[in-house]
């Protein structure tokens, strides 16, 4: 009897282990997924680069001007799970991603999986990037390959157990990673709203900071863009819906001007981590900034997604 119980227990454990192993397996694109694309364009890729905010984490901490194109890594994101260190993604053959294939780059961006077949931590905002078009990803890689090669490794993440176990991220992805659109725009939505949706929900990865998360770090999509306590611990990231506490009094022109200049309608200025983001947004075309504004005004209004501090 005892032996039978033990056997059953072992089978359950083994079964659970096998299920974990299967469910948490890193996925990748189909072999021919990039076959039908146009030849990559570095020129288009530059726009994707600014829309995607790559420089904000992958340039050296505090880099400004042309130094934002040197993707040495080193910016630290301090979170409840530990400290994530943005890696070198310059086109350096050994220390950066210069030796990567197009497929490896696309798998990193769209599936959050490394060339070695391991999960990346979602501090790298691939849950948003997964909504990007493969053509944009391909163009982006072409642009990155035109940038300066930078030597040096940015260092390891400093995480505590159990977050050191990358395999577990596979389950996190199953639970929280959705590459379909977040907002259901109506059939009558304008082209600008659709373009804005693509930029905000995909490359722009606005929701990664502006949407609150649950304790496991999954985004609470029913409070999409409603603002959140900063993942880095200090202060809040504001509500950018038109709900209470948000940007209901802003016109589309106000939003576009803020993205271009960094000034709010009251001429308060951009601050904190958004300064770097706004510098990226200033590099987009006016049409794309207008599209982001159109989309934000179309998102369902929500009250603040963080508790009032007073």
């Amino acid at each position: 009897m005892k032996k039978k119980l033990l056997t059953t227990a072992l089978i359950v454990i083994a079964g659970g282990g096998a299920a974990f192993w299967l469910l948490s397996a890193p996925t990748s694109l189909e072999a021919g997924a990039l076959g039908a694309l146009e030849a990559p364009s570095a020129e288009r890729g530059e726009q994707v680069f600014w829309a995607g905010g790559c420089a904000s984490c992958h340039a050296r901490p505090g880099a400004d001007g042309d130094a934002r194109l040197e993707l040495a890594g080193g910016v630290e994101l301090k979170s409840d799970f530990g400290t994530f260190v943005a890696p070198n993604i310059s086109p350096h053959m050994q220390d950066g991603i210069g030796g990567w294939s197009d497929m490896a780059f696309a798998n990193a961006m769209l599936h959050g999986v490394s060339p070695e077949g391991e999960h990346y931590y979602p501090a790298f905002p691939y849950p948003s990037y997964a909504r990007m078009e493969p053509q944009d990803v391909s163009d982006l890689f072409a642009f990155i390959k035109t940038l300066p090669e930078v030597e040096g490794d940015a260092g390891e993440h400093q995480l505590s157990f159990p977050f050191t176990m990358r395999r577990g991220i596979g389950l996190w992805k199953l639970a929280y990673m959705h590459d379909e659109p977040v907002v259901a725009l109506g059939a009558d939505a304008s082209d600008a709203e659709r373009r804005g949706q693509y930029l905000v929900e995909g490359a722009g990865h606005c929701g990664e900071c502006h949407t609150p998360r649950n304790i496991a770090g999954g985004q609470l999509y029913d409070q999409w863009l409603a603002g959140a306590v900063s993942a880095e611990g200090e202060g809040i990231v504001p509500n950018i819906t038109t709900g209470d506490g948000g940007i209901g009094s802003w016109s589309a022109g106000d939003i576009a001007y803020y993205l271009e200049s960094g000034f709010t309608p009251e001429f308060d200025s951009v601050g904190g981590a958004m300064v770097s983001v706004q510098k990226n947004m200033a590099r987009l075309s006016k049409e794309d900034r207008d599209a982001i504004a159109a989309y934000l005004l179309a998102v369902q209004p929500k009250p603040n997604g963080y508790p009032s501090s007073r």
Binding site: E234, G235, I236, V237, P238, Y257, S261, G262, F263, E266, F267, D268, S269, V270, G271, G272, A273, V275, S276, Q278, S308, S309, R310
Partner: protein, 149 residues
């Protein structure tokens, strides 16, 4: 009559002196509000929502310059708590904060110089003068302000 005016202005000075000592958060907020209002005026002219006027331009530059010179005096140790968006970095990196204030003062003084007696002659020269001043807003707020509501 003149004596009364003097007495009144002295009274105002001492009242504001007391307010400053008691509530540096309130004082620095009002300086920043005046700064934002002046930046708003400047911005409205640059966006051509408001016709360019050299006297208004100069008044805006003067206000920014006065703010730049006085702002730093209202961040005593311990004033990071309460109804404020001041970041802990102001005290943790006091030298960095001072450097940011110094740069702001240098840039507003240069704008004042460029403005001359009657203010910048046209919108283009005003933009050239005020551009470097505006860049201070975000560079300082990037590190030294925390949004908390």
């Amino acid at each position: 009559m003149k004596k009364i005016a003097l007495a009144v202005s002295a009274l105002c000075l001492s009242v504001s002196g007391v307010a400053a000592a008691d509530d540096p958060i309130a004082v620095r907020k009002s300086i920043m509000q005046a700064t934002a209002a002046s930046a708003g005026l400047a911005g409205a002219m640059m966006k051509e929502e408001l016709a360019y006027n050299p006297a208004i331009a100069k008044a805006a530059i003067l206000t920014l310059n006065a703010g730049a010179k006085s702002y730093g005096a209202f961040f005593p140790e311990g004033s990071g708590e309460g109804d404020t968006t001041a970041a802990p970095a102001i005290w943790e990196d006091a030298a960095g904060f001072q450097a940011a204030l110094d740069k702001y003062m240098t840039d507003t003084a240069a704008a004042l110089d460029a403005a001359g007696k009657d203010g910048p002659a046209d919108l283009a020269s005003f933009q050239a003068a005020i551009g470097p001043v505006f860049s201070n807003c975000k560079s300082c707020h990037e590190k030294f302000r925390v949004q908390n509501n």
